[in-house]
């Protein structure tokens, strides 16, 4: 009797196979954990891949100090529930220089995330880092391998990618080199939402609509998550208005645009997503900097 696997079953099985290959072949793997919905799915898949053992690697959050408070709350709980060690890294130089998204533009991403990630991987000596990037997110990611090699300086060379055939991954590397592995490469945004719904995965409540304090800044709508800090950096008072909002992606609160919405449940969120007319990353400032900007950032070591 044959049984046709559903697309989510096939995607899940593939992601689990990838995670197990890494654990079998890597010396010191780590899972990058950003507390977003993709991270939530990654963590859930990791628990499944190694059950009944806890996932045999720690979680690493490369923090910018500018994440939503609700994200920090879920971060601690999720790690505890999974029985995993949680490492949090903040780039000391970015702390010392007070790098923030208002004054420093793309330097904010560069210092906290790109540099912070490199420093954290070097500090702990991780040779393989799981990331939750998907190929449907952005054009240059559509061509990235599942196993993506980084030089000792963490650079990515799109011309020197190893061919990936069948489900055979070549995890061999020289000392100092590292690998970023993307187990959910083949998932789409809709797959992620459907899977969260089907598997009842806990996500940050900010994905659901609620009345929240908001302000407008440079044409975008933002949540006043820590309004005192924002006003201090900007040096002026902001008009804070309560609106029904939610987020389609979560990053640093001053960089992540909110959408006005009434979607209070997962089905409603999916409904809104399916009927929406703008792509997921549009709320993020990072991609719009310049043409092919993600590709450039990746060559420099951003995840």
């Amino acid at each position: 009797m044959t049984r046709t696997l559903t697309h989510l079953e096939r995607l899940e099985a593939e992601s689990i196979q990838i995670m197990r290959e890494v654990v079998a072949e890597a010396e010191r793997p780590v899972m990058l954990y950003s507390v977003g919905k993709d991270s939530a799915v990654m963590l859930h898949l990791a628990k499944k891949a190694f059950f009944p053992s806890p996932p045999p690697f720690p979680l690493l959050h490369v923090d910018t100090t500018w994440k939503f408070k609700a994200m920090y709350d879920l971060r601690e709980k999720a790690a505890r529930d999974a029985g995993m060690e949680l490492l949090v890294y903040q780039n000391p130089e970015a702390i010392a220089r007070g790098i923030n998204p208002f004054d420093h533009g793309s330097l904010h991403t560069d210092m906290w995330k790109t540099e912070g990630l490199k420093q954290a991987l070097d500090k702990y000596g991780f040779d393989v880092a799981f990331g939750g990037a998907r190929r449907d997110e952005e054009k240059s990611r559509a061509k990235e391998r599942i196993f993506s090699f980084r030089s000792a300086a963490h650079g990515w060379n799109p011309k020197a990618q190893r061919p990936e055939l069948w489900n055979l991954y070549n995890a061999k590397k020289a000392k100092g080199e590292s690998i970023r592995v993307f187990p959910i490469s083949n998932w789409t945004e809709l797959d992620i939402w459907q899977y969260i719904h089907l598997e009842n995965i806990e996500i940050v409540p900010l994905y659901f609509s609620a009345p929240r304090p908001t302000y407008e800044w440079e044409g975008g709508l933002f949540m006043a998550d820590d309004i005192d800090r924002v006003e201090k950096v900007l040096g002026r008072k902001l008009d804070v208005i309560e609106r029904s909002i939610r987020f389609r992606t979560l990053g640093c609160f001053p960089l992540t645009g909110a959408v006005e919405s009434d979607a209070k449940t997962l089905p409603e969120v999916i409904q809104e997503m399916l009927l929406t007319t703008t792509s997921e990353r549009q709320g993020r400032v990072i991609d719009h900097d310049q043409a092919a900007s993600m590709e450039k950032k990746k060559a420099e070591g951003y995840f």
Partner: protein
């Protein structure tokens, strides 16, 4: 566009729960599109994404802007710009890597591997095809079956894709002419038969205009088949077909959280498995029965091909990563010599006899590829004589692994027949291959067990065997120091034997020259002899230039850990050439001697030798003392 095929906004808006219920049960089809630079491949994919509403307004806005700036379709939207990802490619106007795209209809989710048509990128197409259930081969209706069409079809067939769609594109540009279409299909049918493709589905389309993509085109009432999307929604999936084969699962990882649980994790390659089934672990051949099929969602009564599971056995049976769990009464074969079809993917050509890592399933072994039996001209399908495989070459060669592996012919089982080769120095993936069959000579030669072991031989001589492997340029002083070392060890009542490069070439290796492949065979034979001598308990001293790192590592891998001592006799080329004891450098410089190490053939210095002798600061006698001390100390 048909609302029946794509997501129905009305249902989403009115009853999202019903919509989700239906859509969680879609299946998944992976396919590749192959076509030449101008066949309209990117346009077709762009069209599929556009028609399935996978393009959002912001993406469409930037697409319209890009189309005006660099599009090739005048004022119309250039769909190709949607899918040409990397900046470098955008400028060149061609796709140069494999890109994956996603779209879905009411029945299926699709992953498209967009693979390049340009000749030099055969490896990308093979990569994209390796995970595909189906191939769409695009033909420009104005041009008919071209050399590229033949190449793409051959590669798709080679990689084992059973479902082939011949999409005759740009029908709008030949006024939807049935006669021209029929001629192209007849032409292709003849070719397809000649390379063993027995079945394919042909359809006339226009990716640019949307004819026969989602709905049947009113422009071609003579076409009796299905539109492309409907065909893609209904073909049988490989993963479903795989369930009908005997059960096989490669073990990825042993799950051992505590003393009470021992499970074997992997993804089922073929077949189905029930709790209580009798299984066999290969290559050991030990048997047991399945006591549990474990997942986090609860134990399963039955699992099928494609699922990732953890299996528990009723008995304590040795099983670890690299082993294959099979149904007990129908196990796969075990062998160490094969005929294989190889696709070379690296800039550096294949070197016959060199050891590469071979990864097949979860097995990782050392393997050597013999000189090709033949190479295939992928444009004409002719078999050509070849001494090696260059980038993008495809051919057939014999492969030998250093230990037996569990396998099945690729035609029967992709998971146990498909492999990659990895360069041991650069760690790059240099080739993909498919095992055709095992060679009978490997099956019939068995290991004879002997009663007197290598330890017994060594104990009788009261010493620990070793290989002192001297490497360095010609004239660096290898033989001189090696001689002194042997004399000193002999005085200390050690049983030694010196294998000298020049002397071996007078006898054992007198049939070998100095080309790269011969030099590798020279070292391989010396390595095997040294290995036999260490098994007899001897301290073996060798003095060979042995210029390539990979071969020295090959010999290192032949003997037990710690017994191979690499001694780098480090002399600057200028010094060695100035000495020129045998007058060889002079001959090489004058062109009388070819392939001379250091002159027109490279020397790869050891990265981490056990001992490094700097002959500019150390006398031969002091060097010999140091080596003896390190060996015995």
């Amino acid at each position: 566009m048909s609302d029946v095929i794509y997501k129905t906004d009305d249902l989403i808006a009115s009853d999202i729960d019903t919509y989700l219920q239906t859509h969680q049960h879609k299946s998944l089809l992976r396919f590749i599109t192959c076509g030449s630079v101008d066949d309209g491949k990117s346009t077709l994919i762009g069209r599929l994404l556009y028609d399935s509403k996978m393009i959002f307004e912001d993406q469409l806005a930037s697409l319209e802007a890009d189309s005006k700036k660099m599009g090739t379709q005048g004022q119309d939207i250039d769909f190709a710009l949607l899918v040409d990802g990397l900046a470098a490619e955008r400028e060149q106007g061609i796709t140069i890597d494999v890109a994956y795209r996603f779209f879905a209809t009411e029945k299926r989710k699709f992953i498209v591997a967009d693979t390049p048509g340009h000749e030099q990128y055969t490896r990308n197409m093979v990569t994209g095809a390796s995970t595909a259930d189906l191939a769409v081969i695009l033909i420009d209706a104005r041009k008919g079956v071209l050399v590229q069409t033949r190449r793409h079809s051959y590669l798709a067939h080679l990689i084992g894709i059973r479902n082939i769609v011949l999409a005759v594109n740009k029908m709008d540009l030949i006024d939807y002419d049935q006669a021209q279409y029929d001629a192209i299909v007849a032409d292709y049918t003849a070719f397809a038969r000649s390379i063993g493709i027995t079945e394919f589905t042909a359809m006339p389309i226009s990716g640019f205009k949307g004819d026969n993509i989602t709905t049947l085109s009113p422009n071609m009432p003579w076409y009796m088949g299905k539109p492309l999307i409907e065909h893609l929604e209904t073909v049988e999936l490989d993963v479903t077909a795989a369930q009908g084969q005997p059960f096989r699962m490669a073990v990825q990882w042993v799950n051992r959280p505590n003393l009470d649980f021992r499970g074997f994790s992997g993804q089922i390659a073929t077949g189905t498995l029930k709790s209580g089934d009798a299984i066999r672990v290969l290559p050991s051949g030990k048997t047991s029965t399945i006591s549990r099929i474990v997942t986090q969602d609860g134990d399963l009564a039955e699992a099928v091909a494609g699922q990732s599971v953890t299996l528990c056995f009723a008995d304590e049976v040795d099983c670890s990563r690299g082993d294959v769990i099979s149904i007990a009464d129908n196990p796969p074969q075990v062998a160490n010599q094969f005929e294989a079809t190889v696709v070379w993917m690296a800039d550096e050509p294949m070197i016959p006899g060199r050891a590469y890592w071979l990864k097949l399933g979860t097995q990782l072994v050392s393997a050597t590829v013999q000189a090709p039996k033949y190479q295939v001209n992928v444009n004409t399908m002719e078999h050509l004589a070849a001494k090696t495989f260059d980038l993008n070459a495809i051919g057939v060669a014999e492969i030998a692994t250093d230990k037996p592996i569990v396998f099945e012919p690729y035609a029967d089982n992709h998971a146990l027949g498909g492999f990659i080769l990895i360069d041991k120095i650069t760690n790059g993936t240099v080739a993909a291959g498919m095992l055709n069959f095992s060679l009978r000579r490997a099956q019939n030669v068995h290991w004879q067990t002997v009663d007197i072991t290598r330890d017994m031989h060594a104990n009788l001589k009261n010493q620990k065997p070793a290989v002192l492997w001297f490497t360095g340029l010609s004239g660096s002083g290898k033989s001189t120091i090696a001689n002194l070392v042997e004399k000193k060890l002999h005085h200390m009542n050690r049983h030694t034997f010196l294998l000298d490069g020049d002397n071996v070439r007078h006898g054992l290796n007198k049939d070998l020259g100095f080309a790269e492949a011969d030099r590798i065979e020279n070292i391989r034979r010396v390595g095997e002899v040294a290995k036999l001598m260490t098994e007899a308990g001897l301290i073996v001293i060798t003095a060979f230039i042995s210029p390539f790192r990979a071969e020295r590592e090959m010999v290192r891998a032949m003997v037990p850990d710690g017994e191979f001592i690499e001694i780098f006799v480090d002399t600057p080329l200028a010094d060695a050439e100035a000495r020129d004891v045998k007058g060889l450098y002079k001959k090489a410089r004058s062109g009388q001697l070819k392939n001379f190490t250091g002159i027109d053939s490279p020397y790869e210095a050891p990265a981490n030798p056990e001992i490094r002798i700097d002959t500019t600061t150390m006398t031969p006698d002091a060097a010999a003392d140091l080596i003896v001390e390190r060996l015995l100390g």
